[in-house]
Amino acid sequence: MKKSPFHFLTYILVIGAYAALQVLQARGELSATMRGMLVPICAYVVMAVSLNLTVGVLGELSLGHAGFMSVGAFLGTSTAIALQDAVPVPGVRLTIALIVAALFAALAGFLIGIPVLRLNGDYLAIVTLAFGEIIKAVFNNLYLGVDSRGVHISLLEDVTNTAKDGRLIIQGPMGIGGIQKISTFTAGFILIMISLIVIFNLVGSRAGRAIMAIRDNHIAAQSVGVNIIKYKMMAFVTSAALAGAAGALFAMNYSTVVANKFDFNTSILILVFVVLGGLGNMLGSIIAAAVLTILPEALRPIAEYRMLLYAVLLILMMLTANHPFVKGFFNRFRQTGQFQLQGDDEEKEAAA
């Protein structure tokens, strides 16, 4: 991990991009498509950098990151709806919702982290996948209503008996409907900046070095007294909290949200951003998230071949990015010993 100049560059580029887009928007030069995608891009960027913390910095493959997004989306949006009358200023309401979303997602991350972080490698990956699916199933069957008597929750069937003066916010498989669109591009930008500050500070701190030591060799790290579970948990929970905030930001950009949106495919999509952007490389994740979110929209003119070409481009990007020629001289002298260096070692190469 390169030190501050690289971090500085990331901040500058993000601020620059925000300023440029704001200017373009003010001058009316952005298309409706582009304007519509600003907030989701911000949400995906935050998702990508937060997953990069788990996959790139901590070195554990997570296939259920969309689950945390789901927790944040549902609970954050519910908070915003419940506070609709109490807090009339959208900006304040959004802030509260994002914080609540982050807290709940962090809690979910902590609870899931207890069993998950005891495992390693592909088995850890499959367990995160399992948790992602469980979260999806739970939100698909959760009913949450708010009225003057308080908050009512029921599972499987709507037996919340929400009073007439209240509102059934989460309606099981129907998700949440009638959401006020209070997410803004500026809020998204601020969230990205906060995520970057949190992650860069964590990575640069003593804790961050411990986390990377675990990634590089957890047995060696343990032998020198690094508390593996503690530091793994620290990275995992931070990552979950940021994902939760991103989920709330995302959900409040649309009038409706359903649990099926945050499925395995979404987790994979985020993982694609991270792998393509480079493990541990936050700027890469940001660019990859933005480019890959815009790409399917940019391919609309070719109509029915759109997703086919998207798949082909994805494969080609992976092939090129990992082509020895592209990887350059750095990897070339290792060619002869490629089998020993395969797998985990190589991943760390990419991250470093």
Binding site: E133, G150, L155, L279
Partner: protein, 347 residues
Amino acid sequence: MRRFFGYAPIFYFCVRGEFRVNFIIQFISSLTSGGGGYQLLNHIINGISLGSVYAIIALGYTMVYGIAKMLNFAHGDVIMVGAYVCFYAFGALKLPGALAVFAPLIAICAAVAVCTLLGVTIEKLAYKPLRAAPSLAVLITAIGISYFLQNAALLLWSSSPKVFPSFFVFKSVNEAGEAVTLRSVQIGSVSVSFVTIVTIISCVVIMLWLTWFTGRTKMGKAMRACSEDKAAAQLMGIDVNATISLTFAIGSGLAAIAGALLCSAYPNLVPTTGSMPGIKAFTAAVFGGIGSIPGAFLGGLLLGVLEIFAKAYISVQLSDAVVFAVLIVVLLVKPTGLLGRTVREKV
């Protein structure tokens, strides 16, 4: 207490009446009562028939993972391609009279041939250049292939569902002299469909063959050597690339058979047919210990039975959650799955 609930804004949970907190009691009582016993047996049979489909897909997953050490997420979509090829081949075949019995077999063989070719092509074009790349890069490429196959199928065969022909039925005449189609056989009080019987038999045969192949033949031994240590295998004169290609060929061929059996049991064929069974079968493979051939078989069957039980005794909506929860518990107790080998880590 109720009054207290009425007062202040507080959180409380109300879970559907009979749910299911007491489902264990219900379960035990259903075991003891006569009608329940019949139900239980029926659920087990249904679970096994679902599980056998998972098992046959899981065998392909575990084969590729065991040797090439990669999660081939495109496996489910190769299954879908196999099913489509089988569907069209069967439709195009017009065999006269008695030979018509062999039409399904020929269709499946065509599917196996096409899928083997497809698997090897995918491996050559997409995975082989990444042999030295991090395993995550291969994972993402596999997902790219999965998207590609789904969208290519959408363009080639359109989105409207095809109904897969029933291969395993017998035409017969009942007492009244009417022609009837037999789809299942009655054993005692439960009926078992022919598809299930065929699937289980094929599963066992494939499992035994794979075990024999990897354990006894030269090629199989080469595969195991590659799985242990690629560099050492190469030093011993094993062509690692060819061996991995062979693994993909076998895995994809199995996918074609799995596709035909999956669609015989659940005859709707759309471009996304393979994705959900693919994920479930992957779970099954991990459940049984990924890389282990008998493990995939066991994991598949258990997952099927578990899913049906969860649906019947807990909740259909939460059945997936229950299945995954059990998976998590199993992995926590036995981190390498039921029959997986424990690998000791060294610094």
